[in-house]
Subunit: 147 residues, 2 copies
């Protein structure tokens, strides 16, 4: 779980930097007007937004939004995936692909780069013996990998 702590450090560091920025912000603007309430409100609002962002990122891997739902129709059990050598991540991409999302959109939803999505899709196409994403989706449905 090294990566996890790395993330924590990263977020912590970012928050630290933001606190520094807040100090500057405070002395340059707020204290001059002696508006403590406004200042605190701004801080609260800002960090709520930051928190939402951080939260979405931290929970992104754990909640598996799409996976959880499609699961009801077709359980992505490891045995089924293993039959065709699909990794969990590749399966996630496959699901988003089946919903008609572009590579760019998939990258955004999974918080990875466009190139990473392309790599995943390449191996999906290879493993499902398909040449196009539409064909991969069709084959996956026939195989029972997708509802």
């Amino acid at each position: 779980m090294k990566k996890y702590w790395l993330n924590v450090l990263w977020y912590g560091g970012s928050l630290g930097l933001l606190l520094v920025a807040l100090q500057v912000f405070k002395y340059k603007w707020v204290l001059l007007k002696n508006d403590l309430e406004g200042y605190v409100g701004a801080v609260a609002l800002m960090f709520t937004v930051i928190g939402i962002w951080v939260g979405s990122r931290l929970l992104a891997g754990k909640t598996q939004p799409v996976a959880a739902i499609v699961t009801r129709h077709s359980p992505p059990d490891k045995a089924l995936l293993a039959k065709h050598g699909l990794t969990p991540r590749e399966y996630e991409v496959l699901q988003l692909m089946a919903l008609g999302h572009s590579n760019q959109e998939i990258a955004g939803q999974l918080y990875v780069s466009l190139n990473t999505v392309k790599t995943h899709i390449s191996s999906i196409l290879s493993k499902l013996d398909a040449e196009r994403r539409t064909q991969a989706v069709q084959k996956a449905k026939v195989l029972g990998l997708l509802p």
Copy 2:
């Protein structure tokens, strides 16, 4: 959309209560020590946590609609097609598209040129309000146009 506003009210109310708590917190403890930095830091930390919580809530709610229940049973009757303005020829192209064929393959199977297929697909995408063929196929299945 009643539930949505109920959520907003709930979150808003909670935040309001927290702000009140902050006031008490401030006067009873922080300002006595004249520790503005600590106070702001506490606010930032607290609202980051709140943000994470709110973010997870919002995310949890958003993931639901993604559940696109695929409706099977799809008779390609003319009435159904007419609803979305699809012509018979466009429906043929849509079916082949759903099977994962490329534009070139579709052109070959329908004995028309590649450009004609592109034209048909363009209007299909337009009529189904999709931007990609995979999305068009997905929407068509949800609408019951495809099995």
